[in-house]
Symmetry: C2
Subunit: 219 residues, 2 copies
DNA sequence: CCAGACGGTTAACGAGCGCTAACGGTGCTC
DNA sequence: GAGCACCGTTAGCGCTCGTTAACCGTCTGG
């Protein structure tokens, strides 16, 4: 890892601050908490140093265990990234779809969609970063799954955009949606406003970019 | 490299399409062309597979030579990335600064700035991708240089934004600038429109996001 | 109370990869 | 035409890192 902030070496047993590890011993009753804890730590590290810039030992150290112990929870390092990105993509899609389904009209749907994505980006900047950057490091089947989910998520946006502005051509709507993702996902690069200000700013920029008359071309 | 499109193995000597390699033999008169050719090929590969996903042999193969031959032109693989990213950052900064300096007023300056960045993103999508994704893989000194150049480029934007809208607070302007970068840099993810349509769309989205009244908060 | 799953440990293997070493051919310059 | 800079080549070293092997304490269910 070339970057600074390399995680320290781990203590032989869970460090003081560890919440899990005391209540979830024994067969069967654990698993869930530990796996999530590992994925969270791994996401943070992947976001900072990139997938290949993080070693298995680093991830282990971040949760207070040693490298190879991770293989009790995941089949491989690739599987960690895969599970992480598939989970994000599914979360984004189902949440976005739900927002649209529950909205009374397309205008509200679009605002809700924007806010949904903004909230996610602000609450999980590490996941957003990894999601944007490390797609290329996925296994082929994992990448196919993630790509498929992404495509469906984009379609939700495209449909909503075209319902609010029926004269916009589909390719333009798709390109605009990608642009808005880029806009909103820029959040990890600028954390100088507080959360609510940032959410408002991004939401308004996104809405203005999409709905200002004359921006999206008529077909 | 996990992804498809892995470059084929190279022929022992420059392939048919090679432009350089025939005219620039001998001591002294070459160098420039070859280095650029290598950086271009490397940028393309880095963009597709990530810095660590590309081997020295892959880069060599892409320009028709074998891996270690690259060390006749670059000190190390890190140096290639470093030179690449420093060059981009300088190019972006000096070009952007020039646009602002030559503009008659801030409004025009902002439009020119947007168009400048859009053109660059559309003409060099590989460089943009690498620039966004592989900053973490730079050597510490290289990263410092790139970061410094980026900061200055952002300042050009922040100044221009605040000259057109003096009531906007600096942190908000900075966050907005980052957002617009994300918007414009999303271009590699959506190449479904032709160049000019894409340029217009991105420029208008960016301008609307920045200048629509009520979007950027008053201080 | 004991069988066994769970979830840790350390040691070590093997592959991949960046980089160096050693060497050779080509074409310019004096 | 001797010398040399340039720019290739192949062989191989050494390190990093993902992964597996072998082993062990702890807690639980029958």
């Amino acid at each position: 890892m070339p970057s600074p902030d390399r995680p320290q070496h781990a203590l032989p047993y869970p460090p003081s601050g560890s919440t899990a590890g005391t209540f979830d011993r024994g067969p069967g009753r654990n698993g869930r908490g530990r796996r999530e804890q590992i994925l969270t730590a791994a996401a943070e590290l992947f976001a900072r140093h990139g997938f290949h810039g993080v070693g298995i030992d680093d991830i282990g150290a971040a949760v207070g265990i040693s490298g190879p112990a991770l293989y009790r929870h995941f089949r491989s390092k690739d599987a960690m990234l895969g599970e992480m990105l598939v989970a994000i993509s599914e979360h984004l899609l189902t949440g976005g779809q739900a927002k649209v389904d529950n909205a009374p009209d397309p205008q509200v749907a679009l605002r809700e969609l924007i806010r949904w994505h903004v909230d996610f980006a602000l609450d999980a900047p590490a996941l957003i970063t990894v999601h944007m950057r490390d797609l290329a490091n996925l296994t082929d089947p994992d990448r196919r799954r993630v790509r498929a989910l992404q495509r469906r998520y984009v379609e939700v946006w495209v449909d909503t955009i075209r319902k609010t502005m029926p004269q916009v051509a589909e390719p333009a709507a798709r390109a605009a949606a990608h642009g808005v993702f880029g806009l909103i996902n820029s959040t990890p690069h600028s954390a100088h406003l507080d959360r609510e200000q940032m959410a408002q700013l991004l939401s308004r920029m996104a809405l203005a970019a999409l709905t200002t008359p004359g921006v999206l071309p008529d077909e």
